[in-house]
Structures are given as C-alpha cells and as structure tokens.
C-alpha cells in the first residue's frame, strides 16, 4: 500500500514536471486553460491568512431546512497547499468540534478532527473527497483550497454570463478519488473570479451547479464571494453558503494550526 502510494506520487510528480517543462505537449486549448488558472491563482497570492464566518443553509426537496454555522481560519503556505482550521458551532450537538487540515497539491492532505465530548484528537483519512460535507450538497473537495496542480485544463470558449464576459474552461481532476469526471468553470475575463461551476459525476452526467455572487474585494486585491449557491440537479436538494466577517492578514501563524490550537479552537 505504502509502496503503491510512493509510486503514485512519483508518477504524478513526474507527470507534473512533464506538464511544466514539456509544455509543447499541450494543445493550444489546454495551454490556454492552464494559463487562465495560473493567472487566477496568481491574482490571489499574498493574502497570508484569513478568518471568516460561514453559514450553510441546507434545503431538501420538500423545502425542509437545516442550518450549519462554521468559523474558518486559513493560512497561506508558499509552494504548498494552505492550512486551515474549521470550527463548528451549529448544529448544537457538534458544537466545539474542530477540523485541522494541511492541504497539499499532490500528496494526500493531513487532517485531524477534535471531538469535544471525549477531548479526543483523531487523525482521519483524507481520501474522502467526494463525500458530503456535513450533510450538505458541498463535497469536501468543493471546499478545499484551489491549487493549479489539482486539475488539467481545456479552454472551451468565451461566453457572456449574466452580463459578464467570461472564460469557459473545462477542468479534469488529477485525483482518482475525486467524485467528478470534469468541471466546467466560468471565470470573468476582467478579474478572473469564478462565477459558476458545473460538476459532472463519475458517469459524466451533470450533477450540480454552483453559482457565486456578491463578490467583495479585500485589501484592494483579494476577491471573495459572499454567497455561493449549490444546486444538485439529481436529487433536487440545494445548499446556500453565506460568508461574513472576512478578515485578512490578522497575524495568524503556524502555531495557530497545530494539535494544541485544534483542542482549544472556539
């Protein structure tokens, strides 16, 4: 198992370096798709750290609602994936539960969960990318930080979307554990902000659509959408995600993202 993993990461590292150095192997559409993602990532670099509050509104077909309240702390890590601490406040029975994640572009993420009833810190498998996050229509992978290496790309077209000029790019997940065969992403050509994503399931049929709205700019650079609406076309359920209290460069450091800070997270 371990050997297989090492082999896999070696292979994926190899393929990555191939992408980087032997770029002539890409078709013009693939190159343009990659360039757009690199540019989008580049425009957001330098936020250092952030804190924000999130409310999730889960709705099923019958219109029943359920609420999730979550606090997020994130730390930008250069040349690696970000670190994040997720603190649950609602539903009340999971209050005090906290989740620490060190994400990596290629290697498996490192994840720990703190269970307040037992005061237990549990290392968990990060393989679960496709599963629902807290019973919502968001999968874990929909909420993880965007890294260029996580996908390969193909530029499809320029399209008008709600009065915005957008790039329409197809993305293919590199991770075999992804729940998707592909995503179609619309980014506006002006600021390279994601406006909409269509998710295609493992059978390559349209599963979900995510739309971003109420974008706000922070520190005259970083754009964040206050609202994200996920609609599942196959089961009729939806989840609305609302962000508030965004703060950047608050002075968080590595020491705010370890086992100790996980245990006292509030």
């Amino acid at each position: 198992m371990l050997i297989k993993k090492i082999l896999l990461s070696a292979v994926s590292a190899l393929s990555l370096s191939l992408v980087a150095t032997v770029s002539f192997a890409l078709t013009p559409a693939e190159q343009k798709g990659l360039d757009i993602s690199i540019e989008a990532k580049k425009r957001d670099v330098g936020w250092q750290d952030s804190t924000a509050d999130m409310v999730m509104l889960l709705r099923n077909k019958q219109g029943q609602q359920s609420i999730r309240e979550i606090k997020m702390k994130s730390l930008e890590v250069q040349n690696d994936g970000d670190k994040s601490l997720t603190i649950f406040n609602k539903p009340r029975d999971v209050k005090g539960t906290a989740f620490l994640s060190f994400s990596h572009p290629i290697e498996a993420d490192e994840q720990w969960l703190f269970l307040p009833a037992l005061k237990r810190v549990k290392r968990i498998s990060s393989r679960n990318k496709s599963g629902p996050f807290m019973g919502s229509e968001f999968a874990f992978e929909d909420l993880s930080s965007f890294e260029v290496e996580k996908y390969s790309y193909k530029f499809l077209a320029e399209e008008d979307l709600n009065g915005l000029k957008t790039f329409k790019v197809e993305q293919y997940p590199a991770d075999e554990n992804s729940g998707y065969t592909r995503r179609i992403v619309w980014l506006d050509t002006q600021e390279y902000r994601v406006q909409k994503i269509d998710f295609y399931d493992r059978k390559n049929s349209l599963l979900k659509t995510l739309t971003f709205s109420d974008y706000k700019q922070y520190l005259a650079k970083h754009w964040r959408a206050d609202k994200q609406q996920m609609i599942n076309h196959q089961n009729g359920k939806s989840t609305e995600l609302k962000w508030s209290h965004y703060n950047f460069k608050t002075g968080l450091s590595d020491s705010d993202f370890n086992r100790n800070s996980l245990k006292r997270a509030r």
Binding site: M134, R259, N260
Partner: protein
C-alpha cells in the same frame, strides 16, 4: 476508620458542591444567554440535557438488583469565557445525573473547571480537566490521566474531571506535555440496585491506598506527541496512583452478625510507559497502543492493535462504510475473576460503522467482541440521528454472552439491555 470517614465526608462534600455548581450554572445561562461581549470578554453557554431509558431483557441475577427498567436524567452545561483574543480562557462544565434505581448512579462531577493561557509555543492549563490519549476504538489502553466514571455507561468512555497543572510545549520535533496531578479520583461503580455489576458490590466507603498520602499523592506524567507525514506518534511516562483498583472481598460490617461481603478498593502506586501510533495510509488507518505497567504487585505488557478501513460512497450513494478490527493482548494471560484484571488478554473485536451523511447525521455502529481463550461474546449496536435542529435520539443494544464462570461477562450475562436516549443540546 479515619480514612473511611474522610472519604465519606469527601464524597458528600463533592456531591453538594457539584449540585450547587450545576444549579448556579443553569441559573447563569438564563440571564446571559447566547454570547455577550463586555470588556473584551466573550462569554458562551452551551450544554445538553438528556433523558435515558434502559430496559433489561432478563430478570436480575442478584436479589437486590433492579428488575427491568431504569430511567435517568442528566445535565451537562458548559460555560466558557475568553479574553485577550482567546489567549486566556476559563471553562466550567459541571455534570449531574439522577437515576431512578441505582443510588450510585445519582451522582455529580465537575468535568471541567480550568483556566488556559495560550502563547505561541507554550500553553498552561490549570484546574479540573479531561485529557484523552490514544488511537484505538474498542479499548483505550494508553488513556490514563482521568479516572473512569464507571457507573455512567458500559463502555467506560465517560471520565471524571481531574485536577491538574499541565504545561504544554510546542517544538518542531513534537509537543511535550508535563502534568502534575493532585487529588486522585476513585472510580465509580454500580450500586447494589444497579445492573451491569458482578456478584459483589464495590464498596465506595471501603477504600485504601498503598501510598500514605492516599488521595493526595502527587502524580506525574510527561508525554510527547508528534506527526510525521502519514504517522502520528505518542509516548509517555506516568508515575502515580493506578486508576484501576485491586478489588478484594471483605466483610461489609465486621461488628454485625450478618455475613455480607462487598469489594474493597485498593489503589496502588504504578509506573507506566505508554506508546500509541497511527499510520494513515489512504483508506487504511493502522493503529497500535501498548503499555508497560509496574506496580508492587506485578509488572506486565499489554497491547491493542488493529485497523480501520473506509469505503467512501458505498452502493453508489452518499453512505460511508468503515470496517474495524482490533486485537487485545495482555502478558498476564488469563486470571481468576476478581483478581486485578486482564479481561482483554486475548480478545478480538470486529466493528462496522455506517455514516449516512444526511442532514440528520444518521449513524449506525455495530461491534462484536470475542474472548478467544474461552466462549464469551459481546455484541453492541448503536444508532443515532438528529431530530430537528437541537435533539439527538440514540438507541443502543448490548448483548453479553458467556459460558465460562471465569469471565466477567458471565456475571453480566443477564444484563442484556436496550437503551434509548434523547438529548437536547442548547
């Protein structure tokens, strides 16, 4: 005799104190509610109230025991204050349970009453706290800081608050925790009316200690914990009072003409080394725990080894299925019932956990434990689901089977039961 009286007074005192504490905290919750900000101090109140009903399928094995039904109500509020942007905090979490049958189960405890100061690379925690160590699921072998609140539940996962001073140092090579523990807590056991006990009742007023300092012995522990890639390591050394008592039958009242026996608790000093390792490799979690314990009576090794494998999205759905297997081993091998226990000397555990990942967080857990040295089984099912936004309903069924009188499960084999509980979280 003096010791006995001391213990009695102590228990009474703790009881009154916790009852008082529970009342005050409940009163406090009312006027302040949710969260308030004053002078940069943030306050939060939360907690749960749970009603629980147990039904024992068979008649009791021993005369005094309750027959079929046992009801109880418990409350556990948590009050939390933080200031200096969270660098300083105070938590207060009392607990109280009222039981309809077992007077030992009507009890209270201060689960937490602690001040924590957090700096960049160190943390100081002072007061009554809970501290969990370990990685396995079916037995928590290396977990040693807190005493088990044994009367609470069958699984032994409920713990009594422990007084401590804990300094935690964060280094590049891991976190080092130093503990000074004072005020030893005696384990709680089912009373005469209670089920889930052996033939003899453990006498909570007949307690002795090897150390002349008794309950006031100052225990010490140092632990190192670190994550390296896919591996999480922990190792510790503990010196102090053994949390497990040696239980010996003794005459309940030597002056009485009635010959009635109960179990005397004797707590000895121990030194213990503990190690826990988890390897997180894709869908596999490999787990290992081991202790080496040395007391004036004996020294031995014990291990708990196993794995957990997860299937994500089984049957093309959102369901996750986790399969667990663990083995317990103890160098003391099999012992006579009643002597200090290696009840898990060669036991195999199999489990399956089904998470529905739905809005209600529905979950189903099944487990089978089997003593490989003789014919004894335990079987558990735990199902839970959220109702509305603030309630959790759970149903637990535990079946215990043994044909061997030398097994603890034999004395419990009439105690098969179902437990239904409804918890309100606020």
């Amino acid at each position: 005799m003096e010791l006995l009286l001391h213990t009695r007074l102590n228990t009474k005192f703790t009881r009154t104190m916790t009852a008082l504490a529970v009342c005050t905290s409940v009163l406090l919750v009312q006027p302040l509610s949710a969260s308030e900000v004053a002078n940069d101090v943030e306050f939060e109140a939360s907690g749960n109230i749970t009603v629980e009903q147990r039904y024992f399928f068979k008649e009791a094995l021993y005369a005094e025991q309750l027959s079929h039904n046992q009801s109880s109500l418990s409350i556990e509020p948590e009050l939390y204050w933080q200031w200096n942007g969270g660098s300083d905090s105070l938590v207060f979490s009392p607990f109280y349970r009222v039981d309809s049958q077992d007077e030992n189960r009507t009890h209270g405890d201060i689960r937490e009453l602690a001040y924590v100061h957090a700096s960049d690379d160190w943390e100081l925690r002072v007061g009554i706290r809970k501290e969990f160590w370990g990685v396995t699921e079916f037995q928590h072998l290396v977990d040693v800081i807190n005493q088990t609140d044994g009367v609470e539940d069958f699984d032994g996962e409920d713990k009594l608050g422990q007084q401590m001073v804990n300094l935690s140092l964060v280094n590049d090579w891991g976190i080092v925790d130093v503990f000074l523990l004072q005020g030893f807590r005696e384990r709680t056991y089912a009373g005469g009316e209670g089920r889930l006990r052996g033939a003899l009742v453990v006498d909570k007023n007949n307690v002795s200690y090897e150390s002349s300092a008794g309950q006031q012995h100052l225990d010490f522990a140092i632990r190192w914990a670190h994550s390296m890639g896919d591996f999480d390591f922990g190792a510790y050394w503990f010196h102090g009072t053994n949390r497990e008592a040696y239980l010996t039958p003794s005459l309940q009242d030597p002056t009485s003409s009635l010959v009635e026996y109960s179990l005397q608790q004797h707590y000895v000093q121990m030194e213990q080394l503990g190690v826990d390792i988890q390897a997180t490799l894709g869908d596999w979690l490999w787990k290992f725990e081991s202790i080496y314990r040395n007391t004036s009576f004996e020294s031995f090794w014990a291990t708990q080894t196993g794995f957990e494998y997860s299937f994500i999205g089984v049957f093309d759905s959102n369901l996750d299925l986790g399969l667990l297997m663990e083995h317990s081993w103890d160098s003391r091998g099999e012992v006579e019932l009643g002597t200090q226990g290696s009840l898990m000397q060669n036991d195999l555990f199999l489990g399956a956990r089904l998470a529905f990942n739905d809005m209600q967080s529905s979950e189903l857990l099944m487990g089978i434990g089997s003593d490989l040295d003789h014919n004894a089984f335990s079987f558990i099912i735990e199902a839970s689901r959220r109702i509305g936004d603030n309630f959790i309903a759970s149903l637990d069924v535990r079946l215990l089977q043994s044909n061997d009188e030398n097994d603890l499960l034999y004395t419990l084999s009439s105690d098969d039961h179902a437990q239904l509980s409804l918890a309100w979280y606020f």
